[in-house]
Symmetry: C2
Subunit: 139 residues, 2 copies
């Protein structure tokens, strides 16, 4: 289960398992659309009324540092968070603030193949992420 996986990960990274960390991680997993810190705080306060805003930011930072969460950047300048840590791209809605994960191994292979042949001068590629902007057709 997600919860146990997370607790195990914390231990492995030498981080203490606290109710705050568990709650924050669960919030990011359960909330859709890559929540902002504010959304996460709202969600958590239902069950943890006393959790501090500063704590949420500190926990989010340390989880990102330890690769248990990822930061997602959008056109605005508010930071959002993603519990999907594996390599993936993002679909950005041009009309709303919706952001969806997009995994596509075939595409990744195609792009890697391309850059295997065509090097960028004086630059060693470590990671390629696509920002795909467009419109969701419904829902």
């Amino acid at each position: 289960m997600t919860n146990d996986f997370f607790r195990e990960q914390l231990k492995q990274k030498g981080l203490k398992v606290t109710p705050q960390r568990v709650a924050i991680y669960e919030a990011v997993v359960n909330l859709n659309n890559h929540p902002t810190a504010e959304k996460i705080i709202d969600y958590i306060r239902r069950n943890h009324p006393n959790i501090a805003i500063g704590t949420v930011y500190k926990v989010l930072d340390s989880l990102v540092d330890n690769n248990l969460l990822k930061k997602v950047k959008n056109d605005k300048d508010i930071m959002r968070y993603d519990a999907v840590v594996s390599h993936h791209h993002h679909l950005y809605c041009s009309e709303t603030d919706r952001i969806e994960d997009y995994e596509d191994e075939l595409l990744d292979k195609l792009i890697n193949e391309y850059f295997k042949n065509k090097k960028i001068e004086k630059f060693e590629i470590q990671d390629i992420t696509l920002q795909i902007t467009g419109k969701f057709n419904n829902n």
Copy 2:
């Protein structure tokens, strides 16, 4: 010349040609590495000591709205600006704050071709931009 081109563009968009707008545009063109608002202000103050910070932000916003500049977002949360308006990607240095433009028509064609065949469910693509992270070898 760049300057005349810019003045012409302002007129066409119905924006007044002011010394502030010209100076801000020139700053973004001349400064390398996709300057922040702060860098732009420092640069301009050499010749326009009285330009207001608020004005710089307002001008940058309106130039972006009118497609005369682009915003560049990095992992941190400070906005940076780009005078290259044509479609291109960005090379992000993983160790410094350096950001370079990267144009590659062949790559664009390859990716467009790929998505011509493989549609994303319930999503209509408008634009695809790559964030290429890595290391510059020297310089």
